[in-house]
Symmetry: C2
Subunit: 186 residues, 2 copies
Amino acid sequence: MSRKNDKRSRLVDAADKLIYQQTFNSTTLADIATLADVPLGNVYYYFKTKEDILKAVIQKRTANLEEHFAAWEKLPSTKERLVAFIEQSATDAETTARFGSELGSLCQELSKNSSEISELTTNMMRSVLAWVEKQFKSLGKGERSLTLAEHLIARLQGVSLLTLTFKDPSFLQQQSKTLESWIETV
Amino acid sequence: MSRKNDKRSRLVDAADKLIYQQTFNSTTLADIATLADVPLGNVYYYFKTKEDILKAVIQKRTANLEEHFAAWEKLPSTKERLVAFIEQSATDAETTARFGSELGSLCQELSKNSSEISELTTNMMRSVLAWVEKQFKSLGKGERSLTLAEHLIARLQGVSLLTLTFKDPSFLQQQSKTLESWIETV
């Protein structure tokens, strides 16, 4: 990777971390430059605005999500894929108790303003929903698949919010087990 | 009400609205002063910091919540109380599709920083949870009451987040009906 790309990706990684840990609105370009160890003046060479860095962060997160989907699709059964999706949340329980759901908190914050940026986070949530719906379809749930996908994602998002609010990772772990049992019986 | 209190309450009302509509982090004291039609210099007479106004907003929201609890407790049956609690969310569906859950979005935003302020929002969520748990206890659910209360609140919060993300009030209305049926069968 060239030195130029290295700086750009350091900025994106720093922005990704800060946006998650302290919200988009309270993160400044200066915070991002400091964490990335890139002079503030150089930031403008790569990104004109904070919104531009956010777009790159969402691109990175989307690629990461697609890698997860691809890995889970290699699992032998559909139920195992859905369980892997739920277990991913449980694995992140400690971080969720500190900062909430990465996707959920960004949707919560940015959707308050209808903008091009909030459309990008909405599209990420739409991808998650579509992937989960596809799994329920492959379980033969037909027209109920979307409702089941919405149910699963709403529960995971609500549980993540309570995990964050009460700073209690065990709540997410225990609720993930409940959701995995629900998958077995659905 | 004295002129002095009138200015103070105008500031709290303006802060309440702006914090909900555009997040706490992106709301400035100047925004609040403008909406309240109070000169910025006067704001400091009532509140030293934005955190101080937030404390007053949370106090006001807590009082409002307790009024709701008191009104619902006058309903003849426990199930009607729980249905009224759920229907409150459905009534707010249009606003939720624009700005999310008032309590949920504040918890999501402020819990990322452990602070005195985030403790206050956690306490509000704890009050909601305790009230719902009390209703399940009065339905004879014993030790399962807390789990049922967590389930109901997590689902409502998750549904609110998806309602906001997809800007779709009908999703919250329809999911409220599903939750009301769940209450009937629980």
